[in-house]
Every structure is written in structure tokens, then in C-alpha cells.
């Protein structure tokens, strides 16, 4: 197992390298000039050029890449072209909101989706099944920002139960922290619930027809016991897989949700950095997301060994 983990960790190096090259080149080949953004709309060409020289943007792309990689290997993600802060500092400031949103969304999504999927599978063909699957289609189809606006309108504007926007750090008070996360988490969880519920239903249906489940029922075990001990555990592997794959959805959704709800997280930082052509920040955030995604998939793979004793690395 240890060897497997080490091999997987080593495998992240080529993945991250490819991502680094890709994002670096893509930024420099795409339109836009951070120097022009920094200088402002009224700046002259000469002023823009001075800033380009100062930022090293006139150097050949290869040279810029080597300098950047050298810094990354020393743990230096560089300084933002715009903020008077290092990129590491910027990311540190924005990590808590995104982490809080992601964890809340994940917990909410799993807590809602798995029971929904199980109920849909057990009540297959009934109105319950159709409602759950209908909701699932809706959850996939409606864009995240539309769900966000609708929830804001209902719960924040009309009913006044929850705030429209913003984020409060946990250290500043638990209730304030929680109430500002409710709407964004629900918004982001919808698509996740749709995905997990469908996979749960399909996976549970497959296991419900298995011989060992028939045997368990024949032995006289109660429905709940059959479901929890014999069905769910065997159906868990695909569910956990899709939760892991869904992290990519989560990352994309976080970008939109943070913008809609005014949460100053990594998603917003990414959007702001892209619009401003803040190359060091974009590069660092994309690298971070790719490492997170790889790590989560590793955790998912390791989870299989807990769920299915037949799986060993």
C-alpha cells in the first residue's frame, strides 16, 4: 500500500508539469496584456511598454517559463502583478472561504443525494423514483447561477431569512459563518445531488438484484439491515468514484457561485486574475487546483480498500 501511495504521488509530477506548461503557454498565447491592464485605459503606449519591461514580459517565453519554474521549485509563487502581495499570501487569504463552501456543499450533497438515490432505487418505477430522477435532470440542466439568483430572490429578498451575499470567517462567529454559507452551498449542491443521486440509484439497483442480497432477505434480515449492511456497502464504490470525479464540477461551480454570492474565495480570485491577466496568480491557482484534483482522486482510490476488502494495491 505504501508503495502504491508513493507511486501515485510521484505520478503527480508529470501531471502537474503538463498542466504548468499548458497554462503558461495558453496565457501568453491568448489575447490581452497585463501591462495594459495595470497602466489603465488612459495610459500611453510608452507607459504600457515601461510596465512590460518592468514585469519581464518582453523576455522570450522560454526564458519566462524557466524563471517561473525555478521560482516554483523554491516555493516562490511570485508576486501578483496587481496586488502588493505575494501569490501565496493571496491564496492563503482566499483558501478558507472556498474550503468552507466546498466542504459544506459536499456534506450537504452526500447527505441528500445518497438517501434520495437509495429511495429511488428501492421504490423503482413509482412516483418517488420519477420525482427524484426528474429533479436530477433539472439539477443538471439549470445553470448554477440561475439557481443562485432564484434562491437569493426567495430566501434573501422576499422572505429575508438569509443574507444575499458575503462571507464571514469562522473566527468571527459561527452563526454568521453558517448563515452566509447556506444559500451558496445549496446552490452548488444541486448539480452534485443530481449527479450522485443518479449514480446511487443505478448502483443500488444493480446490487439489489445480487444473489447475496436475496440470501440476506431469505435469512430473515430486516429491510434496513439488508440495505445498510449488504447493499450500500457493495454499491459504494461507484458512488465514491463519482464523488471524486465530481470535484472537477465543484471547482467549476465554486467559480460561479462565489461570483454570484460575493464570496472572496479562490474561485473569485481566479476570475479576477483571468480578467486582469494576472499571470502569476492564474498559474498558481490552476496548479493548485490540479494538485487538489489529483490528491482527491488518490484519496478516492484508497477509500476503495476500505469499502471493498477485495481491492488491494
Amino acid at each position: 500500500m505504501r508503495g502504491y501511495i508513493v507511486r501515485r504521488l510521484l505520478a503527480t509530477i508529470p501531471v502537474v508539469t503538463v498542466v504548468a506548461i499548458f497554462v503558461f503557454l495558453l496565457l501568453r498565447l491568448s489575447g490581452g496584456d497585463p501591462a495594459a491592464v495595470i497602466a489603465g485605459d488612459s495610459a500611453t503606449t510608452q507607459q504600457v511598454q515601461e510596465i512590460r519591461l518592468k514585469l519581464g514580459l518582453e523576455r522570450p517565453i522560454g526564458e519566462q517559463f524557466v524563471i517561473w519554474v525555478g521560482r516554483i521549485l523554491r516555493g516562490d509563487f511570485g508576486e501578483s502583478y496587481f496586488f502588493k502581495k505575494t501569490v501565496a499570501e493571496l491564496i492563503r487569504d482566499r483558501l478558507e472561504p472556498t474550503l468552507a463552501l466546498a466542504v459544506c456543499t459536499l456534506l450537504l450533497a452526500v447527505a441528500m443525494a445518497v438517501p434520495l438515490g437509495v429511495v429511488a432505487a428501492v421504490r423503482r418505477g413509482t412516483w418517488i423514483d420519477r420525482t427524484v430522477m426528474g429533479f436530477s435532470v433539472l439539477g443538471f440542466s439549470v445553470p448554477v447561477f440561475v439557481i443562485g439568483y432564484a434562491l437569493i430572490y426567495l430566501f434573501a429578498i422576499e422572505l429575508g431569512w438569509l443574507p444575499v451575499q458575503g462571507y464571514q470567517r469562522l473566527a468571527e462567529g459561527f452563526w454568521g459563518f453558517l448563515e452566509r454559507l447556506i444559500l451558496p452551498s445549496v446552490t452548488l449542491a444541486v448539480i452534485y445531488v443530481a449527479l450522485i443521486a443518479r449514480i446511487t440509484r443505478a448502483s443500488v439497483l444493480e446490487v439489489l438484484g445480487a444473489d447475496h442480497v436475496r440470501t440476506a432477505r431469505a435469512k430473515g434480515l430486516g429491510a434496513a439491515s439488508v440495505l445498510l449492511r449488504h447493499v450500500l456497502r457493495n454499491a459504494a464504490v461507484p458512488i465514491v468514484t463519482v464523488i471524486g470525479l465530481g470535484v472537477a464540477l465543484l471547482i467549476g461551480g465554486v467559480v460561479v457561485t462565489e461570483s454570484v454570492f460575493g464570496i472572496p474565495g479562490l474561485g473569485r480570485l481566479t476570475v479576477d486574475a483571468v480578467l486582469a491577466r494576472d499571470y502569476p496568480t492564474i498559474q498558481a491557482v490552476v496548479l493548485l487546483f490540479s494538485v487538489v484534483y489529483v490528491m482527491i482522486n488518490l484519496v478516492v482510490d484508497l477509500t476503495y480498500t476500505l469499502l471493498d476488502p477485495r481491492i488491494r494495491y
Binding site: 489603465g40 458575503g166 454570484v260 472572496p264
Partner: protein, 530 residues
Amino acid sequence: MTFVRRCRAACLAISMLWCLAGAVPAVRAETVLKVVMHSDLKIVDPIWTTAYIVRNHGYMIYDTLFATDANGDIKPQMIGKYDLSADKLTYTMTLRDGLLWHDGKPVTAEDCVASIRRWAQKDTMGQKMMSFVKDLTVVDAKTFKIILKEQTGLVLPALGKPSSNVPFMMPKRVADTPASEQISDFTGSGPFVFKKDEWKPGDKTVYVKFAQYKPRPEPASGLAGGKVVKVDRIEWRAISDHQTAINALLAGEIDYIESPPHDLLPVLKQDANMKLVNINPLGNQYAFRFNTLAKPFDNAKVRQAVMVAFNQKDFLEAVIGDASYYKVCKAMFPCGSPNSSTKGMDGYLDSNFEKAKALLKEANYDGTPIVLLHSTDLAVLTNLAPVAKSLMEKAGFKVDMQSMDWQTLVARRAKKDPPAQGGWHAFLTSWVAADILNPVSAGFLNASCDTAMFGWPCDKELESLRDQYARETNPSKFKTIAEAVQVRVTQYPTHIWLGQWYGPAAMRKNVDGVLQAPVTVFWGIEKKGR
């Protein structure tokens, strides 16, 4: 009985305590104004960049030697008194008493001289002013002199310039930072203090009232006069989504939105707790900019054809829509400003397509497609290019409209490559009126060829007229020269002005005292109750 007595004693004690609590003066709650500005503050050096949000930040924490009032007149601000020598070659300026930096140290003449030098390294009007200056000398702690090589009427308009780059005063130790580097010390002498420890880019920017600020005695007028602060704290919240910002305002989570989009104004109008205030009476002006290096726009007649083919109303309707927020104004310098005039504009901006076609024929236009850059992500600009394309095609032009986000456009307009190889022929933008009040400050009128702004017009006559304006010391003659500039621009078009538009600020009804000025400022504003 004992129990009853104890209860009575307890009630009495509680009553006494309640009364005592009422007798203790309540601590006044801090007044906090929560604002959503048009952009998030990232850079905090208003000399290093011309970005408007940084300029607005500058007005919070810095002060200026002179300022422009509501009538467009230049008034002393930090300056207590000044005079001009009889030969009009020496300005002697003395600071007001009681001016302090946020660290408590007094503002000195030395600080001001250093600040002027730094500002003039970057600002084009400052550079122009300094071309007339022989020396800046410090006389004593509060007095300095501007000694000129030759007479010019530019000194006060330049030092009282309302918009980017504004000549903000900084401590000498800060102003000695080369203009090519950003400052890292944000000590100012303005009415607010920047709370750097609470600044979270992308989240919020915080300012607190500077208790030792000494406002001028006269009432505030435009950017001049007494800057009296009536709130304790101002938070600029970064809410990038317009709908969310509007919702937050409606829910009372924020107090003020600087520039809500026009299509959401009806939502705000429906709510009795909201009000819309036009804080910038001069507004903004749309502009169509030519690249005079790119054929066929290297031919003035072809550019004139575009000017004849355009009309302002179509553009304004397409973007703003509501006539109460725009004005058709054929003057190149904004209507309502001192240099505004329609001289020379007969026959232009009337969409006379036949005349435009005739001009194209005279110019031997060969059908070269005009590469028109179209920005897609700024609501106030998005619909302009399609209107321009339509009008130009009716006049006989072939137009290749290329869509991109604003930042890509900004990068592309800096290129001098041929349009077919990544360059451009034209794009549309908007100027804040405060930036285009005279021929020297209006960037698009700089016709100094390679050193001009993107578009690079090259015209000796235009430059000569601008120079004449800069040298003129009699303000009554400014307008005549400005009119001559306008007439010349109809003959050698550098750009086309496409009308004025206004964007009201939205705020809750309990926010009062908002000043009308070309820049959003926060002195004078008070917040009453909820």
C-alpha cells in the same frame, strides 16, 4: 415572607440597575457606509496607473494643491494663498495652516515639490506643464515657487486636474519613489485613512475618518471646498456580480452602488427605500477612435466619411436606452463644460449616407475591410460596435467586426501591426467628461505621431493649436482656441465623439449629502438610521 421580601429586593435592585444603565451615556455606534464601487481596488498607487478606481482611492486618502469646483473653476485646496509675479513667470504658493499627514507630521513645501515631480513623470498634462517649468524651489516649510521658462496658463489647470493622473500630494519619502515603481507607504493628508491591515483585495477596502483633517471653511463644491467627513468608516465591498450588488442594496446589506447598470435601474426605481442620484452632471462621452496608421484611415477624407455617416442618437439608444440618461451633444468638449461649442460641426453626425459615399468616392476607397474591434464584456460598451458597423456599411464601407473581451482589445489596440495581421482600424470607448475638458488634457487630441495615444494621429496644426492653448495665460481666450481645435479635428479627424451619457449612483434613502462631482467622493455624505 422571607421569599417575598427577597423577591421584592431583587426587583428593586434590577430596577435600580436598569435606571443606572439608562443614565450612563450610550456609546455612539460607529457609522459605517458600505459601498460597491465600479471595480475592485487592486493597485493602490494613483500615479503609477490611470485606472479610475485607483484615482477614486486617491481622493479618499490624499489631498491636492488645487481642485476643480462645480462650475469648472480651479480653486485652491491645500494652498492657502498663491500669487503670480508681474512677468507671469513665477508662482509663489503657500500651504494652509494645520495640514497634517496621517502619521501626524506636518505637510511641508518639500513634500509638495517632490509630489509634483513624481506626478509629472507620468501624467501627460504634467509633462506638458513641466516643459514650461524652469525650476521648483522650496522657500520655507510651507512655501514653494514654480519658476517658468516661459508664460503658460497650464499651471493651475494642471495642478487642479480632476482626473487621472491627479496630482495628489504625498510625503517626500513616498514621493521620492520613482514613478516607474509602485509606492508601498500609503500615508496621505486626505480626509480618510486607508486601513491597509483590513484591506482584502477582492473582498473589501476600508477607510476611516481622519480626525485631524482640517477642511477648508467654504462649503464643498465639486472636488473643491470643505471636505467634511460625516461617517466614521467606509467599506468598499467587492461584489462583481451586478445583480447580487443590487440585491444586497435592496436587502440593506450595502448602502450605495457607484454605477449600477442601466438595465437594472427600473428594479431600483420600484423600491421606495432606494434613490438614484446623478453624481456626475457632466457624465461621460462615447468615442470612436481611428488608427490613422492603417489604410484607408490614413486618409483624412475617409475618416471624415465616417464622421458624416454617424449620428449620436443610434449609439446612445443602443446602449443607454433611456433618454433621461443620455444627451445628444455635437460638441467635442462635453456639453456643460467651459470649452463646449458646436462650431464647425454642420454636416457632421447627421447620418448623411449620400455625402459619406461621395467622400469615399473622392478618397478612392477601394473596399478594404475595416477591422472594427468589438468589446463584449463591458455593458456600457458592448452595443456600440454593432451600431458603428451598421452605419458604416450603409455609407459604403466594408466592415470586419471582431469580438473580444475588453482586456484583449486593450492589448490589441496598442499594436501597430497591419489590421489583417492582428492590428486594427477602429474601436469604441468611453471617456469620463473630466478627462476631456480641454485640448491639452484630452488624450485623443494628442497628434504627436509616435508618442500619441493608440491611433497615433500625426498633425502639426493640431499640435500647434494645443501648444497655443497651453501657452495662453488669458482664460477668456481658451474657448476660442478650443473651437479652432474642434474645427481642425473635423478636417483631420482623430476620433468621433458619440454623445454624452450619465450613470446615476444608487443608494438607500437614509444616505444623504452626496456631492455632485466628476469623480465619486465620500466627504459630505451622511447615513441616518437604517
